[in-house]
Amino acid sequence: QSFRVNDIRLEGLQRVSAGTVFAALPVQIGETMDSVAIRNATRSLFRTGYFEDIQIGRDGNVLVIGVKERPAISEIEIEGNKAIKTEDLMKGMTDNGLSEGQIFKQATLEGLTQELERQYVAQGRYSASVKTEVIDLPRNQVKLKISVDEGSVASIKHINVVGNKAFSDEELGDLFELKTTGWLSWLNSNDRYSKEKLTGDLERLESHYLDRGYLKFNIDSTQVSLSPDKEAVYITVNITEGDVYTVSDVELAGDPVVPEEQIKRLFLLREGQTFSQVLMTTTSDYITRRLGNEGYTFAEVRGIPELNDDDNTVKVTFFMDPGKRAYVRRINFRGNTKTSDEVLRREMRQMEGGSASTARIESSKVRLERLGFFKEVTVDTKEVPGTSDQVDVEYTVEEQPSGSIGASLGFAQGSGLVLGANIQQNNWFGTGKQVGFNVSTSTYQTVYSFNYTDPYFTPDGVSRGFNVFFRERDFEEVNVSSYTTDSFGASMNFGYPISETERLNFGFGYTNISIETGAFAVKEIIGSPRLFDESVYKDEYITVDDYEDILNGLANPCSSCGSDYDATLPSVSTMDITDDLLRESPEGWIDENGDSFDIFNLNASWRQSTLNRGRLATRGASQSLSFELSLPGGDLEYYKLIYTAQYFQPLTRSLTLRLRTKLGYADAYGDTTELPFFENFYSGGFGSVRGFKRNTLGPLATPADVYTTVAYDSDGNGTNDSLVYVLGDDGQLASRVIDNDDDPFGGNILIEGSAEILFPMPFIKDQRSLQSAFFIDAGNVFDTDCGEEQLNCYDVDLNKLSVSAGIGVTWITGFGPLTFSVAKALKENEYDDTEFFQFSLGTAF
């Protein structure tokens, strides 16, 4: 019996919204309802999955729908799972509709337990089992309790290659990534079976044979079998090796767009050589690349071996299909949200609207990496739809902090707390210009400097820049003998590329420098002993006995004369100093050259770099030779020659050898007697020979010799008002050596070098802004004309180099490079100060 519905009433709704029910109901108010329509309504409501039971009845002309909602899951508890973390299991559950708040459906639960078991089997835990429990809770909710017995992991007990005659089981065993349980297996779990790893191993096995001429090599079958207790896996590989094939002939086929001799030079396979698949594939890569450089980026080259079974020889033919010559339509850049487009585009060697060359596209990528602004650069050539010979090249970059910006709080060993804003940014606002201004004070120096360089003043890369500085340095603080230098000046520099990897730089500038020597300046700097200035000291002296009386007077003031000790001073008679009384004091540098100078210097340098990355490079080499000359006519005439080089050599996939050296030679010329001491080379500490205190290697300064003086009452008014010298018993004024600790003085020859093994830090994923290395540093400073009594001062003598070994880590942070190292001295000279731990944060001095 059908009836017209003029209203619909819902009963039993708790959590599901009325809207959802109405949306699922096929019937509207005003329609007629009959038994068929009721059955459809029930079926469609069931399909929503929210309801356990549905009653549709009639109350007059009102359609009454009574529903009993399926329980919703209020809580899910998983226990016993160690290998697969709860979050991963939860994620798997939410993916197929089982999560807190969702409606609980039994079907999905079964599906889920199988899913969990499948995940465990995929991990090699064949004996795992999963049990589920549904606990009812009030308000129509349920709690899911899942208990997992993971069992133990099936580990590989035995890998057996059957049919290998040419190579031993151990040799083939090494090729396999899957290994039987070894003592390291708990760490790298290489004894856990996985299909992917096995296929990888079989490919390596096959290429191992093919690379050694076994062209007929075949893997007949592989069996993976499991012990009944499901905890041991056995892998058997049955192979037939076949014979070794030698190359009988190598030929080219297809139309060579490049003269054949140029291609023939690329052949790695020669007649008579045992065939090797890797050499064949590498040769075809080289040819493809060569054609690519010619503009045929769509070129395809395949090496086809033709076997001759009776004499076990193979004829290799390279089929070349250059395809169409390709042109680059557009070059796009992705990911440079900070760096502007021109900074990237000007590094391009490949032009838009020009013939595409793989070499130029590749070298442009390397040039981007060499900028040092990007953590990673990837390049991708896509065909332009609708054309058969045009490509778009897309470079995707990931930016990294290029320099340190913001007030940098630095603490460099030896120069103490570096305070103030010293901002050095090589990519100023992404314009690629290098700008740095430095307002920094530290115990060792205060510096105000500003430098600006535009590396691309002209499109070809002619750079122009200048810098202005004011610097006050107190070398005493940094273990160098006591003097301070105040200097200010400005310089202009420019440079230009002379080849794809080399640059020449020139610069000229003016510097004014003035030196004050402390009272105890070392002999090399200023002769000593010397008389002090007359304002304080009278040029008079007293005899030794008077000197002792004064000291005794001071030592035990008379009891009767109150606290004022002066009154007890005996009256002494002073004599004038005559030259013969003065000790002999050889002239120091300042005596010969004065202490304030105006210098015009000219510098030129040649720099070559084929490094693969701007910062933290891992391949290639770089070297630079720089020459600095202070022009004649300035107050000082000296020149400085510095050569630095570093070379990277990859050892294995993860280890790289890095060799680094720095050599320096400087000397004076013209009427400057000796290289100005403040231009001396120093060595030791961070960035040179780690493991030794900063700047302490090499010649030491001889401590100053100072005349003894004493205060006395010259005018008898009871107060000591002037100082006077003392006559020593050798007939000359008495003097004594200030025995401050032996400050290094530096020298005019520097020899430094280090060998490092770069290794990836364990447990850290993103290695791109991090570099760690075992290192051996060696180095020292020498001097061509040492002072007579100068200690630790030798002419160049290689077995006088101080050597240290240790571990160093460099990490590029937003503040700039954070570097620290731990090193032990292996060979040290007599006066070297070793220092085990060193670090520096922010822009190091």
């Binding site: 016993g80 017995d149 057996n160 059957v162 049919g163 069996q223 499991l226 056995y234």
Partner: protein
């Protein structure tokens, strides 16, 4: 809150009972280093009055059953993985490198060696004229017993994941019955390898690779006209030896060999229950669940008793009639995995550490 107790179960404790019979040991010998670490079975073989045993490193020994004296010993210096097969004066062994070796039963000198393509985990069986060998990659080879030349080869594709071990072929004068990892038993003509009949013992079910493993590792057992075979996660079936048609079938799962006696078929299933089925009707006669999870080896009937050995090296003697324990003896601390063999009333047990003992029951 419930700390997640690990849900792995312990092997069943040894049940104490009053021994109704005496086990006495005739002799005990030591054969090399025994079965070694890997899970491989090295079944024994008996020929006239000698028993032959081999250890994992290829030391073969022939020992007189009555006295226990060693007749000869040969060092093969190659890892043997298959245990020993013997027939008409010849002893056969298979190695991990896929090589079949034949020795003279009397002197122990090597007669011939024949390289095959896959690992040999089951002892080669012979009827005197032909030798039948199954290799792990699912191939069956028929070789000339005298000089090892290959007569025929039957190939079958086996699933990717199988259980360790292969079924030992049963060779009669005319045919060879072999169980495969595909869950099928095949009867081949022993002279030319043609298939006489083929019967499916188990059907793979379930979604994961593991649930679909239905290997037949147990050797086919011939009792009169009926051939019995059991697969893992499959069924125990009785087949007519001539036509291969099934007489009866029971849902069962076992990797061990079967044994027969007093009209029953004895089986130790994957859960280490010892069961007896009536040979003709397939009815379950009795079950002994007191050795659960003790990793039992194959049952072996001798006299009126059936013996099973476990992972701690105990040999349990049960009544064939009702499966009750009658005696127990510890043979080898390392456990016993290799199937035992019986000659008349004496039971020969080969422990994992190389301990070979002959036992018999004092009435």
């Amino acid at each position: 809150c419930s700390s997640n107790d690990d849900v792995d179960l312990e092997p069943a404790e040894l049940v104490d009972f009053d021994e109704t019979v005496e086990i006495n040991r005739h002799w005990s010998e030591n054969v090399g280093m025994g079965a070694g670490k890997n899970y491989n079975l090295l079944p024994l073989a008996t020929l006239s009055d000698q028993v032959f045993a081999v250890d994992a490193e290829g030391l073969v020994a022939a020992i007189d059953i009555a006295s226990g004296d060693e007749n000869w010993e040969t060092e093969l210096e190659v890892p043997v993985s298959s245990g020993v097969g013997a027939a008409q004066g010849q002893v056969f062994l298979g190695t991990l490198k896929g090589e079949v070796i034949a020795l003279d039963a009397v002197s122990g000198t090597v007669q011939w060696r024949k390289p095959l393509t896959g690992e040999i985990l089951a002892p080669p069986q012979s009827n005197g004229r032909e030798v039948v060998v199954q290799t792990l990659d699912g191939k069956i080879y028929g070789l000339q017993a005298s000089d090892g030349t290959q007569l025929w080869m039957h190939d079958s594709t086996i699933p990717a994941l199988t259980l360790r071990g292969t079924s030992t072929p049963l060779v009669t004068a005319t045919s060879a019955y072999v169980g495969f990892a595909t869950g099928k038993v095949v009867a081949l003509d022993v002279k030319d390898g043609t298939t006489q009949w083929e019967q499916r013992v188990a059907v793979a079910q379930g979604r994961s690779e593991l649930e679909r493993v239905i290997d037949i590792n147990s050797a086919p057992l011939l009792v009169g006209e009926l051939l019995y075979s059991v697969s893992y996660q499959g069924r125990l079936v009785a087949l007519n030896r001539g036509t291969g048609r099934g007489l009866w079938a029971q849902k069962e799962s076992s990797v061990n060999n079967l044994s027969a006696g007093l009209g029953n078929i004895y089986i130790t299933d994957a859960d280490d229950n010892v069961k007896a089925y009536d040979a003709l009707s397939g009815e379950l006669v009795w079950t002994n669940e007191q050795l659960v999870r003790r990793q039992l080896g194959a049952p072996q009937t001798f006299g009126r008793y059936v013996a099973v050995a476990d992972f701690e090296g105990y040999v349990h003697i049960l009544n064939q009639a009702d499966g009750a324990f009658v005696a127990r003896r510890k043979v080898d601390g390392d456990g016993v995995r290799t199937p035992m063999t019986a000659v008349g009333d004496t039971l020969i047990v080969y422990g994992n550490s190389g301990e070979l003992e002959a036992l018999s029951i004092e009435e």
